[in-house]
Symmetry: C2
Subunit: 197 residues, 2 copies
Amino acid sequence: MSVKRNSRHELREICRVAARVFYEKGYDRASMQDIARAVGLTKAGLYHHVGSKDRLLFEIMNYGMDILDEVVLARVRKIPDPSERLRATIVGHIDLVVRARDLEITVILNENRSLRGTLRRKINLRKSAYIHYLEDLIAEVQAGASHPPLVPPTLAAFALLGMINWLYQWYRPQGPVKQAELAEIYADFFFRGLLGK
Amino acid sequence: MSVKRNSRHELREICRVAARVFYEKGYDRASMQDIARAVGLTKAGLYHHVGSKDRLLFEIMNYGMDILDEVVLARVRKIPDPSERLRATIVGHIDLVVRARDLEITVILNENRSLRGTLRRKINLRKSAYIHYLEDLIAEVQAGASHPPLVPPTLAAFALLGMINWLYQWYRPQGPVKQAELAEIYADFFFRGLLGK
């Protein structure tokens, strides 16, 4: 059991370093030798851990989705009120996207055209599951309002994902708007758009 | 003058075809030979038109910003009411992002890390000009409301850009939500978020 945990820890460390190399050089241009060097492994050692370059890219994205589950969803799941749960999800997801530590993983998750076939489908399934979670939660919030829904939950969920996922393109935590302020303003903005108040 | 117009027309045709090749193969993997073949030029002919591969990528992005100016901004500039001008901008920008004809250009504009140095700065300047246009227009709309601004114009502008630019990741015009409906729902959603009504 501790062996298993260690090897997962090791895989995650490889993912973080490899994400940085892919981000800097581009997926096509980065070689497995570049990544092995950055991780401090031999090329054979790296292949032993990850199988192939495609598989490594998949593992990075999968790790990104794991973080979303662990850091955001696991923490909000027990909040009984749907509106509060949605607000906590928004704040948690923004936190994930803007923290510098995982910037490269965010970019790779957002720009995922390099992955193909089964591996791509697996990642897209995990992304779909998150979108469904948002749609259901949004519908629950709408059901608690005093008026009929103003916007279909699917369109609202993607509007929210657009607002949040786009942050990596422009938001800098060192800038004038602090993260807590950003999260509050965006959550308020989304709730007004959703409920009209 | 007609020569100039023809050569611009030719450059735009090259940009459209090259955008498709970059989109399919990835910028790094696509060779100038691939692009020359797709355009129906010799490699020397292509270099004559565009100078270099970096320059070609720049021309594609520049063309994308031209379309934004010509198709969206030129058409809304004369609308006197700020709220109507903002709504028309939203509808026009959504139209640009979702029409299949320019899908590849949208993707390349959104994922612009392959461009470096001066060329990258030039494109970023054009993007900034559009963001400033949105910020100013949003501030004007807020100034006409009966209450103080609920959200800083910059954050509202980027929320809007996120909602719209993210569409290329998920929206399919052949799907259940027609484009006109999408544009109306998103414009309404944004105005509620902005003004709270």
